[in-house]
Amino acid sequence: MADALIMVQWEKLLEATRETIYMTSISVFATFVLGLLLGLLLFLTAEGNIWANRTVNVIIGSFVNIFRSIPFIILIILLIPFTRFLLDTILGANAALPALIIGAAPFYARMVEIALREIDKGVIEASQSMGATHGHLIFKVLIPESLPALISGITVTAISLVGFTAMAGVIGAGGLGHFAYLEGFQRNRPTVTLVATVAILILVFIIQFIGDYFTKKTDKR
């Protein structure tokens, strides 16, 4: 076992972890913003809400459903021309970002929509009875009142994104997935694969811990 561990190139592992953290954090941030926007639009354009509009609702709904249904590994391949057009390359951590964000944002958008639907209709009505504008309604009522669900949703999404980065790694994005595949599997060093797995697990646990902490802290119900 000791011999096997010596074979692990720790510097490469560290580099790979850094890449995974980089890809995850940027894509989580972008997914949060984009998913929140799409989720709000989905909620607000639904029947009976302030921007009720069937056409817009159906268009956004279909977009979200389509991109949520495509398996991630296929989405990466489908997006190769788009990525190349955007970044002039399909290799490296940055090249994984478009696929990560487009894969995760629709998933998060649905979670946002569900969180918003959980808000008591009476509270929305009360705000309207006070003369709240749409801006007040979104930023002072909808988002704060659904915050715990929004946070636990982004936690789940972030953990999925760690998994997605590993898949992106296999086609050359770098990170722990790439490391496990190339250094572990291809060179027949199972210990390396195991160490990479442990690193990913630690990352996931940390994300879960942070998410749970903030969900609990914001939930005053």
Binding site: V123, E125, S127, S129, G131, K140, E145, K220
Partner: protein
Amino acid sequence: MISIKDVQKVFPSKQGQLKAVDDVNLEIKEGEIFGVIGYSGAGKSTLIRMLNGLELPTAGSVTVAGRVISKIRGSELRKARQEISMIFQHFNLLWSRTVSDNIAFPLEIAGVKGPQRKKKVAELVKLVGLEGRENAYPSQLSGGQKQRVGIARALANNPKVLLCDEATSALDPQTTDSILELLVDINKRLGLTIVLITHEMHVIRKICHQVAVMESGKVVELGSVLDVFKHPQQPITKRFVQQVTEPEETKETIEHLIELYPRGKVVQLSFVGESAEQPLITNIIRNFDIIINILQGKISHTQSGSYGTLFIHMDGEANEIQKAVDYIHSQQVGVEVISNG
């Protein structure tokens, strides 16, 4: 202050059109506490929601404090709503905000700045008696305290009208009374016009000046609370009045009493206003040669006078009893012979 003219509200439904509010006309004066009573589905909820534009009438017009609510839109409607606030059966507080922040919410909407907002919130917390609970979250409050926050929040922008949507229906009787007292206090102190809807006659009796009875979308009876208690016209009104004047078990009790007193007469007296405060029974005993047995009685106070019922048993010569009954009539007291022995 509020004028509702020929208002109709029709909801499309699968079984055709549903008339929730059907040709309603009401005038509500400034400073009045106006109650609308009806069973669920009578259309009272829809009616009160038209007063702040949460629902728009299908036909007719709604004018509140000089603004035609049924016509205005957008920013003008939002401005108007700051003067017509509302409290709710389920309080509808923001659980993510503390008591202070909930009360500050309408001030934020109205664009009141920091220090001024703080001062106003402190005033309101004091007005509704929630000192010491400023930093509590709604989940840490009792129902009555939550409704107090609701009331403070509703008063934040110095409204002219307060709409109460079944504001006490989710509270226990004791808390209901304390919230009703607070509403009367606010009405007197701030001269606020209050419109409330309820299905409890107790609420109407306790705080309202005027009452409208609604049944299947129509106002079937309208008048001062005391008049309606005195001479309820419609069967539905009579049933509501009975809620307050006759407790559930009265009918059984009376039947039992009639069995107990086979001789003489069992009579129900109804007192209204000043007549409730006269020594009627003493006068009867002194002036007529009959025996009087008091069986059961109850006096209720309304905002404009007292109202009561009393069941008595009279025994003696038939014509002497008749004279006594005539005397009671002459004293402006309602009298109804329930059994003749």
